[in-house]
Symmetry: C2
Subunit: 202 residues, 2 copies
Amino acid sequence: MTTSRGPYAKSARVRAAAVEAAAELFGTAGYRGATFKDVATKIGMTAAGLTYYFPDKDALLAAVLDERDRPAVAEEAALASSGTRADITERVMRILSENIAQPGLAELHCVLSAEATSAEHPAHEHFQDRYRKARDLLTDTFEAAVARGEIRSSVPPKTLATLLLSVMDGVQLQWLLDPEEVDMPATVRTFISDLLAPPEAP
Amino acid sequence: MTTSRGPYAKSARVRAAAVEAAAELFGTAGYRGATFKDVATKIGMTAAGLTYYFPDKDALLAAVLDERDRPAVAEEAALASSGTRADITERVMRILSENIAQPGLAELHCVLSAEATSAEHPAHEHFQDRYRKARDLLTDTFEAAVARGEIRSSVPPKTLATLLLSVMDGVQLQWLLDPEEVDMPATVRTFISDLLAPPEAP
């Protein structure tokens, strides 16, 4: 329950503004390029003032990541229970459209996930967990689609899940490096049509 | 022609040692984590002394990247002219084995290529160029294999090239984050078997 007044409401507003500012700055300048003070300045605070809400840049990072992931995780959970081939394709194409519209956030994901491969990175567990959950949800989705006879079963569902996430990340890397040369939606769509193909006609 | 003595030979030796040390340090501490001075210290020089051979860390980075890529580019050129499905599979599996044996270098590639999506990064053009060349060579390879009837032609060769590179990068990211959970060779091999499948029997 959020009340619209009082110290709790102010705290929630400041936190939300700081997370939005951090997401924008991390998306343009990168996590390492943006400072804690930059985030504070953007919302008209001092760095000391912002530490009342977030102790440091890592805490901002964690909040940005949670905020970004919340809608995606809910949608993926829904997909897992009833996702048809068309649903999966539509969901993936929508993610790509969002990334094309906000290349700064796409780059943020690309850089943070790569940096986070290091066990010491503050987002290491976040990304490990995020990919595990995404693989598990997609595996369930593909298992259900195979069981319904919608996609052929020559490739194990868990491998399909790992591959779909890999293709999305890998094509995005090439697209970020060279947007004129790489047609991200067409490439990913081809992968989905081919690898998530319906069973051969009997 | 390299002579074994004289100032030129010493210069070549120092350069080679510095590039090796930089590759190792960038692979363990990351490009941003390792300093120019760390590289100098590792080969028993001062930072000022090393500037005689390399003006700065970016120059070391460029040399490391060139050094790493040289054998790969030559092999890929050979693949493009005569690569059969078996050759392509073997070459890809060999790259994966090398990366499993040297996770530090795999992580270096992962982090540098992601950082380099930013147009201001010193390796931006290097990675843009590297991916263009890799796509072109693999496209030629796949075109030739389709023409010989070795792989089916439902997916355009350029798309296959982009997808294969994407799968290698994307699966590697998940493997670096979670080596216990992600079987990199098996996943990539499944992709190759399925997407580079021979034509259907007539």
